[in-house]
Amino acid sequence: MNNITGFFEKDGKFYAIKDGTEIIEEISLSELESLRIYNPVRGVYNHGVSGENVFPFNYGPSTGGMIETVDFKIYTYGERILSLDIITDFKNRNMKITGHPYQEAILIMERFNGFHSFSYSTLLSREIEQKLSMQVDRETVKTRVILLEIERIISHIFKTARLCEAASQNIASYWLLALRERLMRTVAQETGHRYMFGINTVGGLRRKIDCNKIVEVAGKVVSEYKAIIDGLTVSRIFIDRIENTCKVDGQFQRGPALRATGTQYDYRQFDPYYSSMDFKPVSETGGDSLSRFLVFSSEVFQSLEIIQKASKGVFGEYKAIDSNQMRSGGIETPSGDARIALEIGDGEITFLYLRTPSMLNMEAYAEGIRGNVKTDIPFAYESFGLWICEMGCIK
């Protein structure tokens, strides 16, 4: 049976979303309750333990050390972590997309996770286009692929910088942040916005974007990134801190965190935009922070190859298949695949379900960190590319 990676309720019935297929199947509540993913999908990350001398050590909800607001309760009797509760709802925004016209819905969606805004706005735009049986021209497909991969490069560079900072590799960290800035400045010049807000629309792109400059700068940035990765992979200080940290062997997590456990699953394998690319996922087998780092750093080089192929390649027109059936499209965001179930009517969104990678990866993190020591918390966290914003409620 395919891995179930999401579920939702609609009109009193439960539906399951599975890996590798867009078909949504009805599922009984008892089947759902026995699922491994039940807790993370419900948003409960509670693993409290008790015992002699065990105490919860609180970190959060608002500290300068984390990018976003999150509260950790670390159960320990000293250094070793017995378990970790993660409270993510302090900053829950309860966003509502249903009832909004398409363009407004896209603007809200790109502000759901602004760091991966282009992935999410493409996901929603494409899903609406699908429902409207809309034809999208080849230039749009090409530009979307290039910008999706640019967003991945920027996100992975940022993750690498955060990992270096946590491992006290400050010079490497600053260098990486400078590379990210260089690419973002080019993105801003060519697209009008550093985070690519306001670009996607139903049926295409709102601005004329010349990708040549972006592709050229991406090439330079990635070659410098390679020099940094070459240095990091021979740095004992760096490797020692991330090797064997937060080992995860489950199969329910998403994106680089899943591929780091030897599973070759990447939504781009099924994504029609990538069908001419002969795409093969990058994978590692260790399941630890080092393996996650090796996967996402290799993906930076892979993304550049895709961008270069895309900029030279000829794309076919992308004709959406008319489908009134409830289906679940998806997209491989930089943190892993996001899956969507959508209904529209009268120019508005009438139903939305969204399962994001962080919903599952947070559970994997909480599980993997058990048995590690407290100082491992930041390296492990950064290696997953978790975003609290995308764990909030969106309807």
């Binding site: 909800p61 608002s62 500290t63 300068g64 050390g65 990018i67 976003e68 607001t69 709802d89 302090f90 900053k91 829950n92 925004r93 309860n94 966003m95 509502k96 363009q103 407004e104 603007l107 809200i108 502000r111 759901f112 996770n113 602004g114 760091f115 805004s117 940022f158 590799q169 010079i171 490497a172 600053y174 260098w175 942040l177 400078a178 990210r180 800035e181 260089r182 400045r185 801003a188 010049q189 009008g192 916005h193 550093r194 985070y195 807000f197 306001g198 709102r206 601005r207 020099a227 070459d230 240095g231 021979v234 740095s235 975003w387 609290i388 914003c389 909030g392």
Partner: protein
């Protein structure tokens, strides 16, 4: 073996001279849009009025591009009160009330080598106790209200409070603003604000720039 300091020396100086010199670049739609013709246009944030674009409401979406264009100026902020006692050193504590993540990373961007805000005496701190400024980002979230209030009362004085980005200023297009519970000394517009705008606004609130 890699010798990082040598590698970075070879790169030369990439840090801006801003605000002494002009900004090298800017994220176009994060600046306040200016009119280019008289045609009516739809704004999803209801930010367009007879006086121009309201910086508190504008969400940098560019949907008005048939009648407006980015001003490309670094003035997308408004100061209510400045605090010249913070001229020498300025430590910021950032609070995320309900963000999309971008304001968080954009505020921290001023620390990257292209901006290096530490050259201006601007730093980040991990605790509100040591902070001279509180930068509050994101829309209103019930559970964050006591956290924000506690941070404000923990700060030493003199200090300034900054509402950062369209979310806390207007609630963006999906939430509630924070203005009913917080009286800011400085508001910075944009979704998210551009790093050059952030630097200029911070310099102003410290009384270092007229």
């Amino acid at each position: 073996m890699r010798i990082w300091p040598l590698d970075s020396l070879k790169k030369g100086i990439i840090t801006t001279k801003f605000p002494k010199k002009e900004n090298e670049t800017i994220s176009p739609w994060s600046t306040l849009p200016k009119r280019k013709n008289d045609e009516d246009v739809f704004c999803p944030a209801d930010a367009i009025g007879t006086e121009g674009v309201d910086l508190k409401k504008c969400i940098s979406c560019g949907l008005c591009d048939s009648s407006f264009e980015p001003s490309l100026k670094t003035d997308n902020y408004s100061m209510i009160r400045k605090e010249p006692a913070l001229k020498k050193s300025f430590k910021i504590f950032a609070i995320d009330s309900g963000t999309c993540g971008s304001c968080n990373t954009e505020l921290h961007s001023i620390n990257n080598p292209y901006y290096d805000a530490s050259r201006l005496g601007i730093f980040f701190t991990n605790t509100p106790k040591q902070a001279d400024a509180l930068a509050i980002m994101g829309v209103y979230s019930e559970k964050m209200v006591p956290v924000i209030k506690e941070a404000i009362s923990a700060m030493s004085r003199p200090a300034v409070i900054i509402l950062f980005g369209a979310c806390p200023l207007s609630g963006n297009i999906f939430g509630k603003s924070l203005e009913s519970i917080i009286e800011p000394d400085l508001v910075i517009g944009g979704c998210p604000p551009d790093p050059f705008v952030i630097i200029e606004a911070l310099e102003k609130v410290r009384g270092r720039k007229q």
